[in-house]
Point group: C2
Chain length 142, copies 2
């Protein structure tokens, strides 16, 4: 079941404006691609996919669109090590699990009601505004 409040389905009509960002043809297509396959594509992946609908789009435009979407909180930019940035339309707070054997990246959510200070020794008075969590490993050969 998909939470349509935070992540619209790819079939949903994307409106003229989302979170104060005017949806141009390019931005709409880029966003639609992100909604279509939630596989955390890179800018270049998006570029290649979006060409089907907009053959004349440029890579710079894809970067522009992704930046606009990220800055308006519609899309999240995720960095793993020094690899190319990846993008996902799930803007709810979540971390990532990188399966080393398949390369697949899974979103992982925090259990409800858990507090950071429950399991971390934080500096006194630290106010956390942003969490970035990446796990690596394998999806068990049980």
């Amino acid at each position: 079941m998909v939470d349509n409040l935070t992540v619209p389905s790819p079939e949903t009509e994307i409106p003229e404006e989302v979170s104060g960002l005017r949806m141009t043809r390019q931005r709409r297509e880029v966003y639609r691609i992100l909604l279509q396959d939630r596989d955390h594509p890179t800018a270049n992946d998006v570029f290649l996919r979006v060409k089907d609908a907009l053959p004349s789009i440029s890579l710079a435009t894809v970067y522009n669109c992704l930046e606009a979407l990220v800055q308006h909180g519609i899309v999240r930019q995720v960095n793993f090590e020094r690899e190319s940035s990846r993008f996902c339309p799930n803007v709810a707070e979540h971390g990532h699990f990188h399966d080393r054997s398949t390369g697949v990246i899974h979103d992982i959510t925090f259990k409800p009601g858990v507090n950071l200070s429950d399991f971390l020794d934080l500096p006194a008075g630290a106010v956390i505004t942003d969490i970035e969590l990446t796990l690596r490993g394998q999806l068990g050969s049980i």
Copy 2:
């Protein structure tokens, strides 16, 4: 109190060989610099600092040395977003807290006895081998 088992003090004699890595003059100096100021310097920071002791060292050599140290588990490479990699001699499992107002990066440790699955919804059968945690925020203006 510093844990001399995982992080030697900068005054400690660095032996001929550490974890199977032969300590050349350059590697020893690079490592010493990391032990000296635990402020998560970039490769270029290290380069500038190490020049005092080895004026003829090249940036490429600093990269080589850092890579060797990282690959032998003596030093940890830390990436924040798409910034330059940073390096720290603390190879014990820990996360980072990035103070937005001062730019200072603090190491944060996990409370003992805590299990990942206590606060995360992990995919069934996931075996975690590596954790990367970065928090951002401010050190409270109380």
